[in-house]
Amino acid sequence: MLLCWLLFIPFVGGALCWLVGRGNSEGAAPRWIAFATMALVFIPALWLWATGDFSLAGLGGHTPHWQREISVPWIPAFGIDFHLAIDGLSVIMVLLASLLGMLAVACSWSQVRERVGTFHMNLMWTLGGVIGIFLAIDLFLYFFFWELMLIPMYFLIALWGHGEFDRSSHVRAAVKFFIYTQASGLLMLASIIGVVFVHYAQTGTLTFDYNALLNTQLGGAFGMVLMLGFFVAFAVKLPAVPFHGWLADAQANSPSSGAVDLSGILVKTAAYGFLRLALPLFPESSAAFAPIAMALGVISIYYGAVMAFAQTDMKRLISYSSISHMGFVLVGLYAGTLLSLQGVMIQVVASAVSTAALFILAGQLYERMGTRDMRQLGGLFGRLGALPGFALIFVVASLGMPATANFVGEFLILFGAFGAWPWVVVIASGGMILAAVYALYLMHRVYWGTPSGEDTIARMSAREYTIMMTLVVVTLIVGLFPQTVLSVSQTTMTEVSHWFATGLAASSAS
């Protein structure tokens, strides 16, 4: 029941926002409803996190351990169920999604002023789709939500985005985003159907159930092709070079809260997809593919960092930095040891928080200065109250300073991968230097330098202050006490790394 609650609350809340906002397009009621909706997801998820038993009881075999499960037949002709389940990994992701959801509502409070009800409906439905992805363990249902979240996100960018260059550039960005993700999604659908039919051929039962499909033997060239279908879909969403073309456009053109959603949550569904589907379903093919995936990861790290350095638009800089972060995630995923996968978990949380924070700050700055062009900014330190201070915190978080969550994530990933892939780790570490370069460059161009005036521009409001404070606290908690996250995800990660190790053995034997 609780799982249905988590899933349906955002959809119901979104519809309510629309209903309330229909008559009065500028009222604040939809904002409160949306905020309450996310809180209603956040609190039960927090409760699950606090009371769940995430110990390693009875590990082994090829069946995952779920905290809770619910399954209702949906399309019996294909063996498709409405099957939700939750484990440590999903709890963390749901928590993250609802937390950032609340912040997205809060940060759009003064930025979105027209069609407020519809805006929040789209926001809530995007988040509902994302939470659906984290809970669904029927592959058809998973794909259903995977595509479902795109539609409201498309509208968020197309209708509320601010055109970066001209009046319709946000529409183009929205279309680009949609096509990239949808086309790669279809590739995944074909792969899903392929896996299902292979399973059907092997066992005689037609099912889309994750637990059952895990037992499918998917080796050889055919398994590799199917695995690539999943890989491309997730690599587009992550995004990893060379599938990154949509991200910067989409984020630069979307409203701040949309950008928070995109980088904070939507993009993280890809990392989740790797952990939940690509690696466990295809351990052998994944192991065989690991060198290429790692190479793409390292390229992403460098490419993202170099591109970030070349940007003049603050939002574009941040989104390229997120590509760089995701490069580390890719390296960690395909190293496949328990340590590196745990690092991936932390890195996902850390990057979500720090990138979201930087986007929110960019949005707040834009509200005050009317531009995000770094060439026109400068010398803002001391003129904006606490804002530059917060910016400094998240900039150093983004470059992986100890005490922040990002440091733990990157450290664990590199440490975990070093055993099997020492050279990859050595090269990837170099990327951290570039991270320092672009992060400090951002700081320097925007906040230091010669001020263009002496007067104080509007200080942060209490609302803005609370948003940033929350994010700082999360970063520090995860950075200083990573065990809060690690112990929850441990079971899942142990299973995944165990399967991956089996696959590695199988692929090196053949």
Binding site: A77, F144, L150, I179, Q182, A183
Partner: protein, 485 residues
């Protein structure tokens, strides 16, 4: 009861449609009235729809050597009748503004429906040809119905000439098959053609000619060139009819033909069909990209959709029949909605249809129901989850994967990716700012209200089937072709 009685029950729906034709004709002779002509036709079509329930009690049954009425035929009859009803509803609003004789239109629609029904139930080349001509000939009149518009007349002529050419191909193909086998019914043909290998070349050639005719009707590559012009020129309700009823009937026939006569299970021929499907997906989607006229755009997109659907025939596995049923039902529902919006925005008739994209910019602020429905239809055509278009696409992908047709899988994926671009363009347009000089659609009148209700219903069905497709799958799953279990 005896056999004759059962056969009579089985043909009850066509009889009702025939009655509608006759009564409308008599009514026109007595007194011209747009409302009563439309009303009588609708009553006839509705009676036919209801009588399908009675037909289900006697299926499968063979009626004369020409027709077989099985659950498969009944299912497609239902699809055709629903599409025809929607067409008539749109026409009611659309022709209100026509300053000419409006009543004969319904006569033509009902006759054409009759042809489509004959086609779906045919098991013999005689009924095939009769049905196809009965379907097409009234269409010439319908397409050119607003003949004072140059475009409409031109489209009518174009369709007539090409369709006539296609019919002659069909006849020649039939003649060749008859010469090679001595049979005109599909099953007998198959049995005879398998016996000796000597006439194989003639059989192949005959089949090829028949395929030419049918692919013309389905507007598949390379016989697709007429589609956009005719769709654009025809009055919007007629384009609706053309894109739904005509395609459904011909495709249902093609499916039955391929499954009943194993002579068509020729590897060479199937590969050719696969190539046609592949090219149609690409040509349709690529050509649609640069259109600014929604009717042309939908015309090209229909080429691509039939291309996807052809995959089911190429695969030739038992799941194909179910996939065809589901895909056609979802495609028809969606197309009815999309063309319905175009019809209503262009209603009442006032010269050229409001089919240019500019008319749809910011439609949401004027006609929110229409705009939201249109957005749903676009998503459904693009095959996004939560809409029934996705269920159709899922089926087609399943069939293609199960049959191991990887190149067609690739075609479907790439085609859909391209397709997204123009569907989204239309969708985004609907919610933009409304230009001040746009032609404002009139929302007044009973016809408009009725049309809006139909579109709203279609949108609701699109979403409901998208979320809970099981009932559609059950219905289609029960609609098997008689003779192959």
């Amino acid at each position: 009861m005896n056999d004759t009685w059962n056969q009579l029950v089985a043909v009850l729906p066509p009889i009702f449609v025939c009655l509608a034709v006759i009564v409308v004709m008599a009514a026109i002779a007595y007194k011209r009235s747009h409302a009563s002509a439309a009303g009588i036709t609708m009553v006839g079509l509705n009676l036919a729809l209801v009588s399908l329930l009675a037909v289900l009690t006697v299926t499968p049954i063979q009626v004369t050597p020409l027709f077989v009425i099985d659950d498969y035929a009944v299912f497609f009859w239902a699809v055709i009748l629903v599409a025809a009803l929607a067409t008539c509803t749109y026409a009611g609003a659309y022709f209100k503004g026509l300053d000419d004789n409006r009543e004969e239109f319904y006569l033509l629609v009902a006759s054409s429906v009759l042809g489509a029904m004959a086609l779906v139930a045919s098991r013999h080349f005689a009924s095939l040809f009769m049905g196809l001509e009965l379907l097409s000939v009234p269409l010439y009149g319908m397409i050119a119905y607003t003949y004072r518009e140059r475009q409409s007349l031109e489209a009518g002529f174009k369709y007539m000439v090409l369709s006539g050419a296609a019919s002659s191909f069909l006849l020649f193909g039939m003649a060749l098959l008859y010469a090679a086998s001595g049979h005109l019914d599909y099953e007998g043909l198959a049995a005879a053609a398998q016996l000796g290998g000597a006439g194989h070349a003639w059989v192949l050639m005959g089949l090829g000619m028949i395929l030419v005719a049918l692919t013309f009707k389905l507007s598949l590559v390379p016989f697709h060139v007429w589609t956009p012009d005719v769709y654009e020129g025809a009055p919007a309700p007629v384009s609706t009819f053309l894109a739904t009823v005509s395609k459904t009937a011909v495709f249902a026939l093609l499916m039955r033909f391929f499954f009943l006569s194993p002579v068509a299970q020729d590897g060479w021929l199937l590969t050719l069909l696969g190539v046609i499907a592949f090219l149609s997906m690409f040509a349709g989607n690529l050509l649609a990209l640069r259109q600014t006229n929604i009717k042309r755009l939908l015309g090209y997109s229909s080429i691509a959709h039939i291309g996807y659907l052809l995959t089911a025939i190429v695969a030739g596995i038992p799941l194909s029949i179910e996939a065809t049923g589901v895909y056609l039902a979802t495609y028809v529902g969606t197309t009815l909605g999309a063309f319905g919006v175009v019809s209503l925005v262009s209603s009442p008739f006032a010269g050229r249809d409001a089919a240019h994209m500019d008319h749809y910019r910011g439609l949401y602020w004027k006609r929110p129901v229409l705009a939201v429905s249109m957005a749903i239809m676009m998503l459904s055509l693009a095959g996004i989850p939560l809409t029934m278009g996705f269920i159709g696409k899922f089926y087609i992908l399943s069939v293609a994967v199960a049959a191991g047709l990887w190149w067609l899988v690739a075609g479907i994926i790439i085609g859909s990716g391209i397709g997204l671009f123009y569907y989204l363009r239309v969708m985004a347009l609907l919610f933009m700012e409304r230009p001040t000089d746009a032609r404002e659609p009139s929302a007044a009148g009973f016809g408009q209200t009725a049309g809006t209700v139909v579109i709203w219903l279609l949108a609701a069905v699109t979403i409901i089937v998208g979320i809970y497709p099981t009932w559609l799958i059950d219905i289609v799953g029960a609609s098997s072709i008689a003779g192959i279990g």
